[in-house]
Symmetry: D3
Subunit: 68 residues, 6 copies
């Protein structure tokens, strides 16, 4: 069990690999996509590819709030 309280199950829509970094787009609800930037090595270690069932995880200290 992980202390990070934001854990959203979803499906990978796209993976883009750079030399050092990788971008992963995960659909977690009908109109909600989460974008993740991780190392290319992590994306390869986890063999991330379109259609994979994954969980997006975010530490609560990283979440901001905007209000009109």
């Amino acid at each position: 069990m992980l202390s990070a309280r934001n854990q959203f199950a979803g499906t990978i829509q796209a993976v883009k690999l750079g030399q050092v970094m990788a971008e992963v787009i995960i659909k977690i609800a009908p109109k909600i996509e989460v974008v993740s930037l991780i190392s290319r090595t992590s994306a390869e270690n986890l063999k991330l590819k379109k259609g994979d069932k994954v969980t997006a995880i975010i530490k609560s200290t990283e979440v901001m709030v905007a209000k009109d």
Copy 2:
């Protein structure tokens, strides 16, 4: 327009104030809540309270991915 690509509209479910920090819980979809830890001063500046329409914002470099 903000560079952070994760911006999720929702409604505040709860606000808890400490001396320095505040915890804000935001419902962004029927079964998806986001927890945010910000300064108490920010929570007060934005007058955050239960029922407020807000947006949770997360920089993509802060999102991890887990896969079974």
Copy 3:
């Protein structure tokens, strides 16, 4: 209104694009430059280029303090 309390208006000095990431340098005062690392997609979405008036935004939990 955004909860992040560090918001510094400035002018873009340089944008460098990689495959996944982009580096943006923003002058916020006569001798103060802020360096930002965001996704290339964000830099393209915002059409960031030298001379643009922008705001550098930093969540307070990300700021460290050093003292001699």
Copy 4:
């Protein structure tokens, strides 16, 4: 020498201590203040107090960009 490229010399304007966290406000230019949230223990270890000459340090991956 530290890899973090955002290092801004300034003077502490205020320190607020909670049980676990502390908030430090640092003036880095005539109209620019930086807010930092660190542990109370760090604030005590560094003996941070109003008037101290300090440096605010921010990793570039933590800086977002907003453009109208």
Copy 5:
């Protein structure tokens, strides 16, 4: 399997609870302790206490490098 590449097994040395935040100190090697600041609710959900076997997890984008 989690994308975060820094995962260090250790033993909790101390837990300090504030109103919103908690500080957890974890020994990961004979002379190496890691300090973690998480929400009090997470510390309670995981029932963290001295002596617990845990893993400290850090996303690689959060690690800086200093060199003399």
Copy 6:
């Protein structure tokens, strides 16, 4: 003296350079390696290379805890 409480002395095992980012692997104990993702410019400014004695630095708010 820096507020970040996680400071681990070690030796660089590998440096990988991308266009914008760089990955640095640092051994801090016999079986403990830390991975750092910083800007390529920082890696070049610090002339980071295999064998360098460096310190990995992590702000405590960035450390999560997992427990079985």
